[in-house]
């Protein structure tokens, strides 16, 4: 199945892309997708621990299982305001 990955700010710059479509197995968790992205974009690795996660616009746990068509965002520490 396919999921859309969104990367922002320091993650976007490290990966060199803001959006990426990933093919994943059914049952894949958010954390597993994040691991796969670290492999795909090694420059994300030093920042692996600081990410929060969102699925379809809601904050999600690393253990959340993905569904086909989900939009998954990896969210560095926010600093709005």
């Amino acid at each position: 199945m396919k999921v859309t990955v969104r990367l922002f700010a320091t993650f976007r710059e490290a990966a060199g892309t803001s959006e990426n479509v990933n093919q994943v197995e059914p049952g894949t968790t958010v954390a597993q997708l994040w691991d796969a992205l670290q492999t795909q974009f090694p420059r994300l690795q030093p920042m692996a621990a600081i990410s929060a996660f969102a699925v379809n616009g809601y904050y999600a746990k690393p253990t959340t299982r993905l569904a086909d068509g989900d939009e998954v965002a990896f969210i560095p520490p926010v600093s709005g305001g």
Binding site: F8, M47, I50, G80
Partner: protein
């Protein structure tokens, strides 16, 4: 952009039956008056606003400019969740949050929050708490530009 009036579920106030809401990400300059006018209805007596501006220094270091980036759709959704939570908790008659993104110069406004209620205490509390929640969970990021470099705030060296 999300501007509507919807029933205030859980509001303890008899008036009004509709709460004025606005939650928005924009690239355009911000006006505090615009947000005051969104939340200003006949049943209220108090509007409190917070306007965040680009400060020329941070921890003693001179800042040249800032750049804001947002996960637009989720940022608007998260601002709306915060706004509705504040409206319920503080019996607001209106709450509006508008955050600017893109490159901002010193002195320009990055965010405006406006909260209205019949009495002043609720408007102050709601505006202050909405700002804390915004800084805590709305997916927006700030990059500071210095004379000798740049970095994303809250990420450490960069």
């Amino acid at each position: 952009m999300s501007l509507d009036t919807t029933p205030a579920t859980g509001s303890q106030s008899a008036l009004p039956t509709e709460v004025r809401y606005l939650f928005e990400i924009t690239r355009d300059p911000l006006s505090t008056d615009d947000l005051v006018n969104v939340v200003l209805v006949d049943s209220i007596g108090a509007v409190v606003t917070f306007t965040g501006t680009v400060r020329d220094n941070t921890e003693g270091r001179k800042v040249l400019s800032l750049e804001y980036e947002a996960y637009d759709q989720m940022a608007v959704a998260e601002m709306e969740r915060i706004g509705r939570e504040m409206a319920d908790k503080w019996s607001l008659h209106g709450i509006a949050i508008r955050h600017r993104v893109g490159k901002l110069a010193i002195g320009e406004a990055s965010v405006v929050i406006a909260a209205s209620s019949p009495h002043r205490r609720e408007a102050f509390e709601a505006c202050s708490e909405a700002l804390d929640l915004l800084k805590d969970r709305v997916p927006i990021w700030k990059k500071e530009y210095f004379e000798d470099g740049e970095h994303w705030v809250g990420i450490g060296a960069g």
